[in-house]
């Protein structure tokens, strides 16, 4: 009995310490950069320079607790509740109607008392779990077109709901992307998926070509305007590209070694909400290209560990969960850095572990816990 409990905690004697330490390091680095980025504006706005730091620290600590908890959950336990988790997270989207809180002109948050959270973040974990669960359950059906489409819609319907209900396109795209990659991995086929990628590419090119013919002022919605300003590629400041251009000034003025930690000038109100989506620009400004590339390498290493863990997972469900997390982190990092370097049009994506955001870090650490849990059960032969 005691042995069984010990084995339950200890797993099979393997534990991915390197992933664990990289997570802890990321959190600490994130706090340092968050404080550096936000203290000046927080002091002016709230009279408390540490406001963002303290809030994030609370969530980080709680998140580490959540991580340790999910680390200990057994796959069979998660599988048992996967339907409920999925349903609960998807239904939480609808909470924006009775409990929606509008922040910065977007209705992405749900407020319960003093707490607010983003349902879109919850949906990510729900979708990862359900697709992993179904991928294992219907290994045969997935080979068929019908099966894979069905699986795909398990993720795409919540993604659509996120877009419709919370008008959060970037989160919807991330959820759809996670779904696509998970289904792609689960299926033995290539052709259909490559065809789909080709189709998406054609649509994107078509949209770009169409937008090129438009003038900023004629463009209807703010999304189209963003695309058009991005295409115009100029770096003069307009209302529409203000945030991105200010971010470019920050990145560009970093140079090789940066201005030094804490010495960013662009964070002094020039880059709007620098502690959020744009925190990477301040990292580049203060730590230079050395710092910027280091962060990319850290994420790459983390994703590499996910690959190792998922390919060695003891069961398909665990493996698929890790693939989902891997897709989640990689998509978000790529989108975030692409946005701040003006490689793609502006869309609000946070940088995992580093950007300010409570729900985001709780969900990310819950996911990390599951991945670490999977690593514990790897059988070493």
């Amino acid at each position: 009995m005691i042995d069984k409990i010990r084995k339950g905690i200890k797993g099979n004697g393997y534990f991915d310490y390197s992933l664990f330490f990289i997570i802890i390091f990321m959190l600490c680095f994130g706090l340092v950069m968050l404080y550096s980025t936000s203290s000046y504006t927080a002091q002016i706005k709230y009279g408390n320079g540490a406001r963002f730091l303290i809030r994030q620290l609370v969530f980080d600590v709680a998140g580490v607790g959540v991580m340790l908890f999910t680390c200990l959950l057994s796959p069979s336990f998660i599988k048992k509740f996967s339907n409920y988790i999925y349903l609960f997270t998807v239904l939480s989207i609808f909470l924006v109607y009775p409990l929606g809180v509008e922040l910065n002109g977007a209705r992405r948050w749900v407020g319960i008392g003093p707490m607010t959270f983003q349902p879109a973040e919850l949906v990510k974990i729900g979708v990862i779990i359900i697709i992993a669960f179904l991928a294992e359950k219907m290994t045969r059906k997935i080979r068929t077109f019908k099966g894979s489409i069905g699986l795909m819609f398990c993720g795409w319907i919540p993604a659509g709901l996120v877009y419709i209900c919370t008008e959060n396109l970037s989160s919807a795209l991330i959820i759809a992307g996670i779904t696509f990659i998970m289904v792609f991995v689960a299926s033995p086929n290539y052709k259909g998926y490559l065809a789909f990628i080709a189709f998406v590419a054609v649509v994107v090119i078509g949209v770009i070509a169409y937008c090129k013919t438009l003038d900023v002022n004629d463009a209807g919605t703010f999304r189209v305007q963003r695309v058009v300003t991005w295409l115009n590629g100029d770096t003069t400041i307009t209302d529409e590209n203000f945030q991105v251009v200010q971010g470019l000034y920050a990145i560009g003025s970093g140079g090789l070694f940066g201005k030094g930690l804490g010495k960013s000038v662009q964070k002094l109100g020039f880059v709007p909400e620098a502690e959020n989506d744009m925190i990477y620009t301040i990292i580049c400004e203060e730590l230079g290209i050395i710092g910027g590339i280091s962060v990319i390498l850290l994420f790459l290493f983390m994703i590499w560990r996910f690959m190792i863990i998922s390919t060695n997972a003891s069961d398909l469900f665990s493996s698929m969960v890790v693939v989902g997390v891997m897709a989640h982190i990689s998509i978000q990092v790529i989108l975030n850095i692409a946005v701040v370097t003006a490689s793609i049009p502006n869309t609000g994506v946070t940088l995992p572990f580093i950007s300010y955001g409570g729900t985001s870090v709780l969900i990310l650490l819950a996911e990390m816990g599951m991945v670490l849990g999977v690593s514990r059960r790897i059988k070493i032969e």
Binding site: T139, Y249, G252, S253, Q266, M307, D315, S343
Partner: protein, 576 residues
């Protein structure tokens, strides 16, 4: 429980590669931004962050010879707004338009403009600036600045000149001594946050301003005042167009006073000193201003008339074509070639020696002297006594003499030249020439600037001026002083006599061109004490109404001035 298959693992590894490729691409973008385009962005970012502000240097003061400040600086304010820092736009517009007396539309336009710093108004009185400061409006900046201020407003206006919007000299001494007075403005380079608030943590680069040097001039405020008062009096009583008075030290060329009434208000130099009767366009108005700013003592030339006989007499004595005792006869005219040139006394002066001829200001005597001199000698002395050249006074725009070409001078021309007609010089040239005649033959450079000092009065630099020595002999000099003293004591200049002092002088009345228009210039040139001159002065009255004889109109002006300033300068009364 399912176990993952090989194709699962393959696909995971494939996805990993896709991620790696995308990361590499992003790194490439990053390298491009941060290494190759870095300079562009650093420059743009600095443009956004850095504010360069000039710290204006205080312009040097202008002092009179006794240290009295005649041009100084007044603190004024520049009001500007920083858009990002304004909290209550309505209130800011309200207050600024009220206090600065500007229209609301104008202020609104500037306040609502999204710029890092928008200037609303400069040269605002300090009191107004202080009042605006008391509202404590965020985003409203009050910067203090210097504006030139002339405590005596119109005193010596045409000599001092004034400064423009950037405190740069526009006319007068302010121009000549621009480099000395202006100083060097400093700079503050600060880094600001998005709201334009300067960051204390970032060390500002600061270049301290260097204040301009003070200029000590030879002007004596009291003498200038006396002279101005006397000039104004005669200007009004004789309804003259203008009156110029120059008072100078004939020994070293220091100008004590230079008056050209009507003067203008240096604190409002762009307002005419008279009321315009009809509307003029801006170009014409500027012409009128330029005319008002002219320093007629040096910018304009005139026919000197009889005061120029000092020159003819000097040249005659020097070349010994005449002696004080040479005898002449005046029938009231003199025939030169085919011309009959009249003396001012219709009946003639009869028989007289040279001294008496000078006392009478008898034209035939000087025509005779001139003819005896001949053109060559006449021109030689014209040159020797510095009349072909500018005096070199330290004021801008000095005019030169207008003289016949030597080869065109016949007897008639020479005759008219001899009593001061048919050519033009500036009053200051005449004064300089006469100074050389009475100071022992030294051709001095008339000047105003003496030295520069710092604010504690320590001398920084002393100016030196050219002196050409011994242009005439001491003997001629002594004779001339004696003759000119007699002119005042017993001759046409007796109205210039100052109780208790030996005064030398010469009067002149010249008819303005064209002849016969009834317009005259009356002048008088005097110096004292006659044997050792310490002060020389000239008074020129342009177009006096009524009696226009220099001896009657101009000599009393100088008499009045000398009566005041000779005791003031500590020149003792002679026993005589």
């Amino acid at each position: 429980m399912q176990v993952s298959k090989a194709y699962h693992r393959r696909k995971i590894v494939l996805y990993m590669f896709v991620v790696i490729i995308l990361f590499v691409c992003l790194t490439g973008v990053l390298v491009n931004l941060m290494i190759f385009d870095s300079e562009k962005y650093i420059e743009k970012a600095n443009e956004l962050h850095e504010r360069e502000r000039d710290i204006k240097a205080a312009r040097g003061k202008i002092l009179d010879r006794n240290g009295v400040v005649i041009a100084s600086n007044k603190t004024v304010c520049t009001i500007s707004v920083v858009y990002n820092q304004i909290e209550n736009h309505e209130e800011v517009i309200e207050v600024l338009s009220k206090e600065l007396e500007l229209s609301k539309e104008e202020v609104t336009k500037k306040v609502m403009k999204v710029s890092s710093r928008e200037k609303i108004k400069s040269n605002v009185l300090k009191e107004v600036g202080d009042r605006i400061r008391e509202y404590n409006l965020p985003g409203v900046k009050i910067d203090e600045d210097y504006k030139r201020y002339y405590p005596y407003s119109s005193l010596a206006s045409k000599v001092l000149g004034f400064t423009g919007a950037d405190n740069q000299g526009i006319v007068g001494l302010e121009v000549t001594y621009e480099d000395v007075l202006k100083g060097k403005s400093g700079k503050i380079l600060t880094v600001t946050d998005a709201r334009g608030i300067e960051l204390e943590a970032v060390a500002e680069k600061r270049l301290e301003p260097v204040a301009g040097k003070n200029l000590v001039t030879s002007i004596d405020v009291n003498i200038q005042k006396y002279a101005e008062q006397a000039a104004k009096k005669v200007l009004e009583s004789k309804e003259a167009k203008r009156v110029s008075v120059i008072i100078m030290n004939p020994q070293n060329g220091e100008i004590y006073a230079m008056v050209n009434v009507p003067e203008y208000d240096l604190n409002n130099p762009f307002e005419l000193n008279y009321i315009l009767e009809e509307d003029v366009d801006s170009k014409e108005y500027q012409n009128l201003l330029n005319k008002m700013w002219r320093n007629e003592s040096i910018n304009d030339t005139y026919e000197p008339g009889s005061t120029f006989k000092i020159f003819t007499a000097t040249a005659g004595l020097e070349t010994k074509v005449i002696t004080p005792n040479s005898t002449f006869s005046c029938p009231g005219y003199k025939i030169v070639d085919d011309r009959r040139i009249r003396c001012h006394k219709a009946g003639g002066h009869g028989a007289e020696n040279f001294v008496e001829g000078t006392m009478n200001s008898c034209n035939p005597v000087f025509i005779d002297t001139g003819l005896r001199l001949g053109v060559d000698k006449f021109y030689e002395y014209f040159e020797k006594l510095g009349l072909f050249e500018k005096t070199g006074v330290d004021l801008p725009g000095e005019a030169g003499s207008i003289m016949h070409k030597k080869e065109n001078v016949g007897n008639v021309e020479l005759a008219t030249l001899s009593f001061g007609q048919s050519f033009q010089i500036t009053p200051l040239q005449l004064l300089r020439m006469t100074s050389a005649v009475i100071n022992g033959g030294n051709l001095i450079t008339p000047h105003l600037g003496i030295k520069t000092t710092d604010n504690s009065g320590n001398i920084i630099d002393e100016f030196e001026y050219d002196v050409t020595e011994s242009v005439i002999t001491l003997e001629t000099c002594e004779t001339m002083k004696g003759i000119l003293e007699k002119v005042v004591a017993e001759g046409t200049g007796k109205n210039g006599y100052v109780e208790g002092y030996a005064v030398g002088g010469k009067t002149a009345t010249s008819e303005k061109l064209p002849r016969g228009n009834g317009k005259y210039i009356s002048s008088y040139l005097g110096f004292a004490p006659a044997n050792n001159p310490q002060v020389i002065g000239i008074c020129i009255i342009d177009e006096p109404e009524g009696i226009y004889y220099g001896g009657t109109v101009a000599a009393p002006v100088m008499q009045e001035i000398f009566d005041n300033i000779l005791p003031y300068l500590g020149i003792e009364k002679s026993a005589k």
